[in-house]
Symmetry: C2
Subunit: 193 residues, 2 copies
């Protein structure tokens, strides 16, 4: 997606440890007009796939999920990272390792919001190693929900998450795939049709 690649080139910042900071438009400050175009691109990719729900994980996935769900006309459901007093009833849980936070955490999703009748589009802002995504896929498996596809804003193509999901046969759409980045700020995007 040219609009997103140009924005990453312009406003993204490379930090030591393979960190690509896009906090000025994607995950701290949010450019909602850009996110709406991201949502439209996911809609174009999956509009014929019978998607019934957009699934993501708090927090930064929520914005993309909402701007995607708007185009599909289906609800968003997001997995929570902390057990809240306000989640009661039966829940699906899965354990995820966060490289950002340097720890494992549980993700939780109420069983009443995902079931065998659902065909899910999973969306998130980033795909790198893919730990969070595997937690979400595990939740879908527990729910008996079909995974219609996966929509990612920025994939770190030099990390294994995306390749692994494609090998497993998932329909993965990454709008920008960064194949190389270095601390000088150089970025190379994977050419896409």
């Amino acid at each position: 997606m040219q609009l997103l690649e140009e924005r990453i080139q312009r406003d993204g910042q490379v930090r030591p440890g393979n960190v690509l900071k896009v906090d000025s438009f994607l995950n701290h400050q949010l450019d909602v007009a850009l996110l709406d175009e991201v949502g439209r691109a996911f809609y174009d990719a999956y509009k014929d796939d019978g998607i019934t729900k957009i699934l993501t994980i708090e927090a930064s996935g929520i914005a993309i999920a909402c701007m995607t769900a708007r185009h599909f006309g289906v609800p968003v459901v997001f997995a929570k990272k902390a057990k809240s007093k306000n989640i009661d009833g039966e829940v699906y849980t899965s354990t995820v390792h966060s490289y950002t936070y340097g720890r494992d955490y549980e993700i939780t999703l109420s069983k009443k919001f995902l079931g065998p009748e659902d065909k899910v589009l999973i969306v998130d802002d980033f795909l790198a190693v893919g730990k969070a995504m595997h937690g979400l896929l595990d939740v879908c498996k527990q729910a008996g929900a079909a995974v219609g596809g996966i929509g990612i804003a920025i994939e770190k193509g030099f990390q294994p998450g995306g390749a692994g999901l494609r090998e497993q046969g998932y329909k993965l759409t990454s709008l920008a795939i960064v194949d190389e980045m270095d601390d000088s700020g150089h970025l190379r995007f994977r050419p896409q049709p």
Copy 2:
């Protein structure tokens, strides 16, 4: 907002401890069409107030903030509840007590995303005691940003947050104000023009 009050009556569930569960449409599963109407109502209330940014706090505020920012054509910025490796540079911080999670936590916002040039609309899904809101107001004060208004989906009118903010002179718009609720599921909304 009649649409929201009717939805709370229909799908909200009262739980012991003054918990009003609206997780089927507002803060776990998200009815994006409803949230878009919530955003439109905030736009109608504040469209002439020179709002430059929509401010909220992760996680459940993000959805409402995005669907509000869409109408204003301004960015969202959300305060984070956990210190991430990926927040660098100078940050505003404030301490908030969460009744939901039963603990204090720090909220963090990068200084580069809020400053004296900003006029902020703060939005959130719930207003009860108002602890999170005071953290966001504290961040605005640290930034020297003007607070143009506060937009809340559901105010618990029997708790002191809303009354306190009105006394302090803030332009507060709560789309549904629950003045009474009991464990039998009875809800009474405050009549509003």
